[in-house]
Amino acid sequence: MLRGIVLALGGVFLAQGAFAEMPAGDPEAGRKKATMCRTCHGLEGLAKIPIAPHIGGEPEGYIARQLIAFRSGERTHEMMSVVARSLDDQTIADLAAWYALQKVSAALPAGKTDAQAPETCVACHGAEGIATMEDVPNLAGETVMYIDTQLKAFRGGKRTHEIMSGIAADLSDDDIRALAEWYSGINLTIEKAQ
């Protein structure tokens, strides 16, 4: 576990390195540009379709890093690769600032306690699926299949990350399903930013 945290911190420094030249984001400009995101991710980042993650209240650095990865081809997706191709640095910064500004809260379903949360994940993603550090996504309320797909992508090498590639490598299909069900079962609320 300790090793995971140390590595995770390493990931943060690396991620920050990638942003050294990124412009500062303007959330108000991001809200206007988010019209291109809202059909799938919602204007406040509560996803409208199951294949899209909830991105409202996601750490700013994580959102920006993923858009950069889609743009460069490091991460691929049928839809996001098309969208990200046309985004400039300022747009990415603005969108990340807007979505990061949304206030999220998570609540465990009745009968569940933090102690039952998957040990492998909690250091970075929290027991309730709210990220504890930059460059980590929230997982609360994502669909089982979204989390399942991402973990299998890390395990198979289609998606790579300093920490996640290693963690996913050791997971069986059943492990993945169980982790996905834990985080999917958490109720996510996104409060619209004023």
């Binding site: 019209t35 059909t39 409208k48 839809m79 979204y146």
Partner: protein, 417 residues
């Protein structure tokens, strides 16, 4: 009747077990042996209240040809493709998540009064595509598995249903080719008694090095097999991501929709409704991104000479999904034999288009023309109030339309003027 159904199920059990001998997931193994799994709890969906009222309010703004009405049939979260039971007892509804819903109109007032999850002891993965054989076997095509549920219209009342492998987990496509978005399957039973399944390819436009693998598996195509999973063959290739098909009841030919390439601009390439007249046809992708629009990625490559172009183009990016030939008698004569299809609506177009039900008239010579039938799910601010996914037909000749944004099924019926 019950006895007859059980008899059929037992018979299938014997034949199905004969070829389902490889290890199966724990619960499936029990269900394949008609054992109980201990799961007893259904999830029921509330059919009344503020949520249902909100959907009904949206429906007030939907426009239809004169004499037609639309109403809320059921609240069904994430509703995707539908399979109406051949006995008219229950409609099964797939999702892109991990549940299949059973929708029952017990009092036959043409509004469902019970929606609960189907087979809650099984773990589904993108169970988008349910389809029925005429004799009551329910097939559900998932991301990478196909199961059959004999006499599902009878067994669905219990949390434990009879279930057997048709295509085992991980054998529909190589697991390395799984994706989330383009692995929503649909299935149908053809007039030849075979099970047809659409297999979307997992890219916007795939790279040339994938071509051989995809052609071998029928990824970016349609496959067919015997209903026990044997005799699999690639039926059609050159399809980008088909999420809707039906057989013309008059000719027996397969028609299917296809979703076309993104990122080429707002107005190209067109969406497609295709007409397959025989096995082995190529429908043009990835050389063509939709209609006769060439993709940038393959613009310097020679397309196959025998590419079959769409029977009818649709507006670009509208996302044509589920479709159904109308066989009922309720609607006026001009709709009989026509195709009703759902446009999910664009996701990446400057001004959204789609989110409506289309009707396509097929002439004797096979040419086809389309026009909007039900629309109004995009509001004046360009926001979606609903996104239609599939069309099915009830035995009274009315049609059902599923919507995975609103989480609902609508019923459209004809009253005349």
């Amino acid at each position: 009747m019950k006895k007859l159904l059980l008899g059929t199920a037992s018979l299938l059990a014997v034949t199905a077990l004969a070829h389902a001998q490889a290890p199966v997931p724990e619960n499936l193994e029990k269900l394949s042996n008609f054992q109980t799994t201990g799961t007893t709890e259904f999830t029921f969906i509330d059919q009344t209240g503020d949520y249902a009222d909100g959907i009904k309010k949206t429906l007030e703004r939907i426009t239809l040809p004169d004499g037609f009405k639309i109403g809320l049939y059921a609240v069904v979260p994430d509703a995707r493709h539908m399979a109406v039971g051949p006995q008219g007892i229950v409609t099964f509804v797939g999702t892109r998540k991990d549940k299949v819903w059973s929708v029952t109109d017990r009092n036959k007032d043409r509004v469902a009064d019970e929606v609960k999850d189907f087979a809650p002891s099984l773990k589904f993965a993108i169970p988008n595509g349910p389809c029925f054989s005429k004799d009551g076997f329910l097939y559900i095509a998932e991301q990478n598995r196909v199961l059959v549920y004999p006499a599902a219209e009878f067994f669905y009342e219990s949390p434990d249903v009879a279930a057997f492998n048709v295509v085992k987990q991980g054998e529909l496509i190589p697991p390395t080719e799984e994706s989330y978005n383009h692995t929503a399957r649909v299935c149908d039973i053809g007039p030849d008694g075979k099970l047809y399944i659409t297999l979307g390819q997992p890219f916007n436009v795939f790279a040339p090095e994938k071509m051989d693998l995809y052609n071998k598996w029928g990824i970016g195509g349609i496959v067919r097999m015997n209903t026990d999973g044997t005799g699999r063959e690639v039926y059609a290739t050159g399809v980008r991501n088909s999420v809707g098909m039906d057989f013309d009841p008059n000719t027996g030919d397969l028609w299917f929709t296809d979703n076309q390439v993104d990122g080429m601009g707002d107005d190209i390439p067109p969406g497609e409704i295709n007409h397959a007249t025989e096995a082995g046809q190529n429908f043009g992708f990835p050389w063509y991104g939709g209609g006769n629009t060439r993709t940038n990625e393959y613009k310097n490559d020679e397309p196959p000479a025998d590419v079959v172009f769409p029977a009818v183009d649709q507006v670009a990016h509208a996302a044509d999904l589920g479709m159904k030939f109308y066989t009922g008698k309720m609607f006026p004569a001009k709709y009989r034999g026509a195709i009703f299809s759902a446009q999910h609506g664009s996701w990446n177009r400057t001004t959204p288009v789609g989110a409506r039900v289309m009707v396509t008239y097929v002439a004797e010579d096979g040419t086809a023309t389309s026009e909007p039938f039900a629309e109004g799910w995009i509001d004046e601010n360009g926001e979606y109030l609903g996104r239609p996914v599939d069309v099915a037909e009830l035995r009274d000749g009315s049609i059902l339309v599923s919507d995975d944004l609103a989480g609902a099924i609508y019923r459209i019926w004809y009253e005349g003027n």
